[in-house]
Symmetry: C2
Subunit: 195 residues, 2 copies
DNA sequence: CCGTCAAGAACGAACGTTCGCTTTAGAATC
DNA sequence: GATTCTAAAGCGAACGTTCGTTCTTGACGG
């Protein structure tokens, strides 16, 4: 089908990426072969190589998508007005991340990206930027809490933001790697300690 | 060297594992070839295959070592008497983990293990057990805090333990992926929120 | 009938592993 | 204590497979 519409091209790209995502979830980046992706997409070698120049380009696309998803999920949190109490902000963040924790959730891809980032400098830079910005949002949250008197005037907002942010991957990792704790138990712990 | 001492055999094994560790830090599990490990160890193909039946056996050995290191580093923490305040316990844990965060630290291997655990059921089981036990120590810490009155009598110790535990990978990941925050800032945040 | 796109055979490189040969430390023998 | 024997330890060329990628070929819409 020559001279194809822009939509069609975009759809093909998405089709390939969706196939790659399934393969990567199942077997990881490096135990997935191009043949796996090609077969899963129901396309031919030539078709896939028309849309992506290499395997690593596909990995990069999936990786950036996976890392960016966390930002999207937490986007509204930073803009809530009035700023919620910190325990409540963490609860909202945990709720936003909950859909990402399942067996097909992006967290399982994000973890692979973290591993990949330690060998791929470009990816490392991207990850550092995205997660750095994410932490900055929690720092901003802490700043607003300090401004509203919920935190002491001399509180270290950088540190508080980092701690709040740390709770999220810490929780997600536990869930993915050990199965526990339940959302309820974790949030109960958060409220006990931060409430 | 035939009929060789048990020490010699153990030393050779350690030599191969040390070489593998360096290779895996540099290039990750799957971008390291057996030739890489063999070359780094300064041995021959046959020699390495005498000590390890396969590449995945080497990966498993390195992975279990890396995951177990965290347990070792936190071993004493659970037995401190009297139980430290929770913020102080986290500070001690952070200090214990600090040496693992560097560019050659085990955390960089542990992250790869997390990714690997999502494809390797045996490894997943091992990781779940080790980190489950680690979390249990923090739950025990929370229990003792409750018993001493530092936590309310109706506090959810499972949740509190999970939150305390979550701080550690959350902090380590930030450090490895984004470079920050500093130990001091993070601990200042911990003391602000848990103190 | 041209320009675009898909198909899949083909390619060289690199992979993990095997296997048969050589070397050598220590036991056995005298 | 010298000599012989033996089995463990080491070696590395070679194997078959699979990898990511390229290239030739044909098909189809405009």
């Amino acid at each position: 089908m020559p001279r194809v519409s822009e939509q069609h091209r975009e759809a093909r790209r998405a089709q390939i990426l969706a196939a790659a995502r399934r393969c990567f979830l199942r077997n990881g980046f490096h135990n997935t072969s191009m043949q796996d992706v090609i077969g899963e997409a129901g396309l031919s070698v030539g078709a896939v190589y028309r849309y992506f120049p290499s395997k690593s380009a596909i990995i990069t696309a999936i990786a950036e998508e996976a890392v960016g998803t966390a930002t999207d999920a937490l986007a509204e949190l930073a803009t809530l007005d009035p700023p919620p109490p910190l325990a409540e902000a963490v609860a909202l963040a945990v709720d936003a991340l909950e859909p990402l924790l399942g067996p097909d959730g992006v967290l399982r891809i994000a973890i692979q990206v973290w591993a990949e980032a330690m060998r791929d400098d470009d990816l490392a830079e991207f990850v550092a930027r995205v997660y750095g910005e994410l932490r900055a949002r929690f720092v901003a949250l802490a700043e607003r809490a300090r401004a509203s008197g919920a935190l002491a005037a001399d509180a270290d907002v950088e540190g508080v933001g980092a701690v709040l942010f740390a709770l999220l991957p810490g929780y997600g990792l536990q869930r993915v790697l050990t199965g526990g704790p339940s959302r309820e138990a974790f949030l109960s712990g958060v409220r006990t300690l931060l409430g």
